[in-house]
Symmetry: C2
Subunit: 337 residues, 2 copies
DNA sequence: CAATAAAATGTTCACGTTAACATTTTGATT
DNA sequence: AATCAAAATGTTAACGTGAACATTTTATTG
């Protein structure tokens, strides 16, 4: 492996001069600079980042952490987040991807190792991690889950508003018996989305029936099982708000399995707008959550946070959007807006 | 930041003794070892991995590279690979994720920075990368694409066999007019899967019609468009082999859009067995490709390759499996095996 | 052309750790 | 107790780089 000292010898200068030349310091005369750069490229020199990091106290590494990678994080969620972050950070940053639940303790997570951390947070259980990162003074951006601590940069979609909007749409379509299939209980988003569902019903004075709430887990099978239970009720709902698209797909399958049709017998609405939502039969009406946009914003934020030290915390909401397709039926004449 | 020298001072020993104690060297007496470990944990000591890496010439980093992350890599593919690798490597390795197409040149990829590299290879264009990694003497495992070079560890599914099997099944079901929707042209797997399709037809002496081959791109929209073309043929096929599930889903949608039914009017078979395949309507018959298993094997291989230096190259095939669901209809009496 | 400031380059140290070699302590043997 | 081997610990250097300070070279000015 060739080092700056090797280059120094060949160029007949000190290794510091080489260092300066490679870092494009204005202190070095043009001719020598060129000579050094020439030799460096001829020798195929590449800097040793460990040495660099050691002396400069920077790691050139950004950590992208998920609450969990193996347990219940949907593929599209994981992939969209990585794609988003990846598209923003430049070649000279390393991107480390890991799940918080992979760690027994957080001792290996410190400012020497990470210049910045993006946390894709799904659960309150992440708070210990957040606390640790803050304590170690590592620049941090939290995505996807709202924090009380307003000093932390926080980028997320307004899930409550999104689900409120969705349920409101069902009501406008004439539905009154509206059920919900909830998300994974440990995930904050589940509660946000349920709250939007509740607030929409309350706003329109529609009574809330306990039996219209079914627990789910954000997985297709969970949506299927939950829907089966709803269908076996004495008075089944006419519409179901599913807390994510995966469960909506499972729910539709449960409906088909009973010989019923969507949206004729039961209307279904989802959340996320994953790629497949356009290709279900019927096409799924859902709330679009701009996951990739959120991670792009997150990556940009962490970069600016790392360069300037001005820590401008607070929430940044990316808007959700109701995507109307074919899985909801209007029960009344007044066509919905 | 607390270093081993700080600990040394407090323990009244040399920093080397501390280093040895922390690394559990047998040279250190039990009592001193305990004392040092105590102090270390009290001070909340965490090792500086940059220093460690610098002197030990190890990076504690495993690179997981994709041909591309942003351009045409399906979400389930990306996520399954990361999940698989992540589940195997231990806490003291960093997992680095990046797309090859993010790099202008590979100069930053060297053995100081990566202890090992797992390449999820989709395209011949990766060969330059592979060559570079080999030249730098970085342990390498290539997943998902067959290499000529038998000295490189290579783990993949036998796609040709899988698609042969699938098309054979269609034939056994009485189909003769069997079309194919091909994958992304630049990806090796597309050709493998097409070859399996062709060999199955040839084996059974079924004439190959040029118009029954449609180009696709591994995306749902591509499957849709390709299917539309097939349906507009004078003699449309009775069965379609789609080179992945995403396109199969798109194809089914195109069939529905024409008012036709799957499998009654046209049979559809996919490849991959993604999570959604169980939840399409009808449920998708497909070839299961054990992506997560492949990445788990890949991660295990890279770890063993990194520890022992015995480089045992060659291909390791993970078996595909035909998953029979409801999207293929038997045209004849003889029920298929 | 000397004096002096500015520019260019060199010397030495530091970063935090492990490793090679050196020294001291311990314990067994006579 | 003296001797010696083994065990435990210490000293110093090394990894590759950047930074502070020191020195030399160059350009500018009177």
């Amino acid at each position: 492996m060739v080092t700056i000292k090797d280059i120094a010898k060949l160029a007949n200068v000190s290794h510091t001069t080489v260092s300066r030349a490679l870092n494009n310091s204005p202190l070095i005369k043009e001719p020598t600079k060129r000579k050094i750069l020439d030799i460096a490229s001829q020798l195929n020199y590449t800097p040793n980042y460990n040495a660099k990091s050691l002396v400069m106290q920077k790691s050139h590494t950004i950590g992208l952490f998920f609450s969990t990678i193996s347990d219940g994080t949907s593929t599209s969620f994981l992939a969209d987040a990585i794609k988003g972050v990846n598209s923003v950070i430049s070649e000279d940053y390393n991107l480390f991807v890991r799940g918080i639940d992979d760690y027994e303790d957080f001792s290996s997570i410190n400012s020497k190792r990470y210049d910045g951390i993006i946390l894709m947070s799904q659960s309150d259980a992440d708070n210990a991690f957040i606390y640790h990162v803050r304590e170690k003074n590592i620049p941090l951006v939290v995505l996807n889950r709202q924090l009380e601590d307003r000093t932390i940069i926080n980028i997320l979609s307004n899930d409550r508003e999104g689900s409120h909007h969705a349920v409101n749409y069902l009501i406008k379509c004439g539905h009154q018996k509206i059920a919900i299939i909830e998300g994974k209980e440990e995930f904050k988003s589940s509660h946000e989305r349920k709250n939007g569902y509740l607030s929409a019903l309350i706003e329109k004075n529609i009574p809330i029936h306990h039996e219209y709430s079914e627990k789910g887990n954000y997985e297709m099978q969970g949506g299927y099982t939950a829907m089966e239970k709803l269908l076996s009720l004495e008075k089944p709902p006419t519409a179901v708000f599913c807390s994510n698209d995966d469960m909506a797909i499972g729910a539709m399958n449960a409906i088909f399995a009973k010989g019923l049709s969507v949206p004729h017998d039961i209307s279904v609405i989802g959340f996320d707008d994953i790629g497949f939502a356009k290709y279900t039969t019927p096409r799924l009406t859902t709330v679009k959550r701009p996951m990739e946009e959120i991670s792009i914003q997150g990556a940009k934020s962490i970069l600016s946070l790392m360069s300037q030290q001005e820590d401008q915390g607070g929430n940044h909401f990316e808007n959700t959007e109701l995507i109307i397709r074919d899985s909801v039926r209007a029960l009344n004449d007044s066509s919905p807006v």
